[in-house]
Symmetry: C2
Subunit: 255 residues, 2 copies
Amino acid sequence: MQPTTGATITGRIICAGLGPGDPDLMSVRADRVIRAARHVAFFRKAGRPGQARRIVEGMLAAGATEYPMEYPVTTELPFDSPEYIRLLAEFYDDWAARLQALVQAGADVVVLCEGDPFFYGSFMHLYTRLKDHVPIDVIPAIPGMVGCWNATGQPITWGDDVLTVLMGTLPEGDLVRHMKAADALAIMKTGRNLPRVRRALAEAGRLQDAWLIERGTMPGQRIVRLAEVDAADCPYFAIVLVHGQGRRPEMGGPE
Amino acid sequence: MQPTTGATITGRIICAGLGPGDPDLMSVRADRVIRAARHVAFFRKAGRPGQARRIVEGMLAAGATEYPMEYPVTTELPFDSPEYIRLLAEFYDDWAARLQALVQAGADVVVLCEGDPFFYGSFMHLYTRLKDHVPIDVIPAIPGMVGCWNATGQPITWGDDVLTVLMGTLPEGDLVRHMKAADALAIMKTGRNLPRVRRALAEAGRLQDAWLIERGTMPGQRIVRLAEVDAADCPYFAIVLVHGQGRRPEMGGPE
């Protein structure tokens, strides 16, 4: 597992997907890797404990070195402004260089990632910068939306249902079009976009079937019908789900 | 955790999602529950070891009782024929009654389920029959498609990408329409439907970007460009993926 670069023995980056939030739902492999880690990096907003770090509370070994990678900006600038994009690119460049230096000095560095790292994960910004320079392992995990639909206690899809995953940041017309076309829906990045998501669901005729799941699988979990949520409510870590009803219902069985 | 029904203490059904195939990728909770189980039920084709049972090989406790739930028919009848639907309904009725009797006699019964139980899982046919009669816990898991996109070594989605999940059993026109509308695609139930899936991808202009992942995360894993697969090839446990390219690319950061 220790590849050589020329004659130098290096370490590796191991990105551990943490799953939806309940530490008992991370994979056996991620659990083992995190408990054994000597170097642990994770993203967070400046001045906050960070959701990824919170999930592994009590799991890190004594003496593990922590590397909080604090976002330089959050909501102060529009996310598509040139200034925001430049600041974030520098931030990722800087951390990619720091982690690369650690690995090339022989360390294994575990990078914590909420949900599944390859499903809308921030890790990809490090991954694209590092993958041609150091060995990287990625440990998949249960995406947040899977934990959320489990929390609702009913299947999200069955039979030939079509599931579409949407970001709440999409233009309202795009949201409506996709909401009309799919059987089941998972809508992420809600937060400040929730009013638009709600209007689009109403326009697509799906609002009455929509559920809001806040802090899915975590302490403080809340599951409510979106139509009954106060319009001023701005939930955290929230996903909107519409369950499929089983397109062309078949009775199951092997393929 | 032992609820009472009247004065009688009953057990419960625990459906353990197994994830994509590698036992190291099941959740810490599923791993613990499966190793402690005294009663273990799982679906399989008659005369086959069964994929779910294979994943837990070496994990079951000595003396655990196994309940292979063998499908009465597989490919001998059209899956939408009345006879097939009737046979399968009887099969699920029968096993629901048997598991209910076990639970009401005080046993905890662990039902194994490949992938995530609430994402196109056969378990829902037992769940709908049992949920009003006995306590049921469902342990979520990494869906098969997540293991597959991880195996490709690149993010399936980033930025505002739209992901759509499709069954290969859908009519070709529906496949084409959804393939054109989404950025990223996961297509399941391929097998005998692979020629149709391939034609639809070509029609939607996505065939050159499509990957076929066979036995993802399992021994014998194969990852190939779909366009390069022999048309006569009929792969097992295969999923087709098209990666998103990052719609309206943003540089990441918190919401």
